[in-house]
């Protein structure tokens, strides 16, 4: 019985880290089931949604539940959990060691510091302006606008719990900066600068993930992710619209 509890603990922790890092729900369920099967629990049941995981080691055993409240995208953690689960199923790791390793991954900080992310976001913004048909005169304004906008988003996300407010404020700043650059003769097309600059904020990944979950038959997860994506897009659109309304 004690064994069952620690297997459940490892499965739940692995699932929790993966969901918090932005893995697809079917991958989370698959990983949890694989770990359970490798310890001989052939009837383990798992059900993951973007906001919680339900898991039991057998059909009529006690059911465990974890709530997921914080979600971001951290591919590094997904890769780490994946390699731990590979080692577990390959019998290269003992359960208690795996638990320690998973707790370490859970506590780990982001792989890239904030200022590196801001620089990356700046270059992403500049490059998207060129990719969507902008001219090179728009590159520098888009680079600055995107970088500052992302920095504002990161800073506000620390102050306020609600992520949509951070995105709204970032979009507002982007709109104001873009108009500022255009009025001062830097850059040619405002549309191109704004679209490039909002790309680091835009929920593109959520939209695609939602459709993939829907097609895989995970209707609850698909719909809730789709709504999250629509809310984010709304926050960004509203921020830009308010910036336009001011000027």
């Amino acid at each position: 019985m004690n064994m069952d509890i620690s297997i459940a603990k490892v499965c739940m922790l692995a699932g929790k880290i993966m969901l918090e890092s932005g893995a697809e729900t079917y991958r989370v369920e698959d990983t949890m089931n694989r770990i359970a099967v490798s310890y001989g629990l052939s009837n383990a049941q798992s059900y993951a949604t973007p906001t919680g995981i339900i898991f039991s080691v057998d059909r009529v055993e006690k059911t465990n539940f974890i709530r997921i409240s914080r979600r971001s995208t951290d591919l590094h953690k997904i890769a780490e959990v994946n390699s731990i689960s590979r080692q577990l199923t390959g019998n290269e790791l003992v359960l208690s060691e795996a638990l320690l390793l998973l707790e370490e991954v859970d506590q780990a900080k982001l792989a890239f510091a904030g200022w590196i992310q801001v620089i990356a976001a700046a270059f992403v913004a500049g490059c998207f302006t060129i990719m969507f048909g902008g001219t090179w005169t728009d590159f520098i304004p888009a680079l600055l606008t995107g970088g500052i906008g992302y920095a504002v988003m990161l800073w506000f996300a620390q102050l306020v719990e609600t992520r949509f407010i951070a995105e709204f404020v970032a979009a507002l700043v982007i709109g104001v900066l873009a108009t500022f650059f255009i009025y001062n003769g830097m850059g040619a097309e405002m549309d191109k600068i704004i679209i490039g600059a909002v790309m680091p904020l835009v929920p593109g990944l959520h939209i695609t993930n939602a459709v993939r979950d829907l097609m895989a038959g995970h209707l609850v997860a698909g719909v809730s992710k789709g709504v999250e994506a629509i809310l984010t897009a709304f926050a960004i659109g509203a921020g830009i619209a308010v910036a336009f309304a001011i000027f």
Binding site: G22, A23, E24, R27, T73, D74, L75, H76, K77, I78, A79, N82, S83, R86, L110, A111, F112, I116, Q117, A120, A121, F123, V124, G126, C127, F128, I130, M131, F132, I195, V198, M199, P200, V202, P203, G204, L205, I207, T208, A210, V211, R212, M215, A229, A233, F234, I236, G237, A238, I240, A241
Partner: protein
């Protein structure tokens, strides 16, 4: 000249998104390459006069195949390469544009753009699914043949 600019910018954009999504350091360049190849296929197809949705489907299929190969050879989960590779194709810009038109009371354009977003993201998902299904079929074929040989 435009092609070179597109190659360079899409590489930097895909690798930059790798940083934003905290991809493992050693896979950043591969993420950039996958994203670059997918975007260039899309760009060339659209430039040659193809509709946007089928071009997105084909580019997504290429991204998925490349990601499968990368995931297999480097033993990392496929999502790392798919996410950064797909980002240039994702209709984030159009989604934002649609929202802006909704807020400005221009529902006529807004609904058109939202339909396009749905079609494009559906296209990406179909492209990814196609190559996933193909991969499963190929694997089953190979595994089946090996089993058959062992038996005989």
């Amino acid at each position: 000249m435009t092609i070179i600019a597109q190659l360079a910018t899409s590489f930097v954009a895909a690798a930059g998104f790798g940083v934003l999504f905290n991809a493992p350091r050693r896979s950043l360049i591969k993420c950039g390459l996958v994203g670059m190849l997918g975007w260039i296929l899309y760009y060339v197809l659209v430039d040659a006069g193809m509709e946007v949705v089928p071009a997105t489907v084909l580019a997504a299929m290429l991204v998925a195949v490349l990601s499968h190969i990368c995931a297999r050879t480097f033993k990392t989960p496929i999502i790392i390469f798919v996410v950064s590779g797909i980002i240039p194709l994702v209709p984030g810009g159009i989604a934002y544009d649609a929202m802006l038109h909704y807020i400005n009371n221009d529902y006529f354009t807004a609904v058109q753009l939202s339909a396009k977003v749905m079609l494009l993201s559906g296209g990406i998902a179909i492209g990814l699914m196609f190559s996933e299904v193909a991969n499963q079929l190929i694997q089953r074929q190979i595994v089946g043949k090996i089993k058959y040989k062992k038996r005989s």
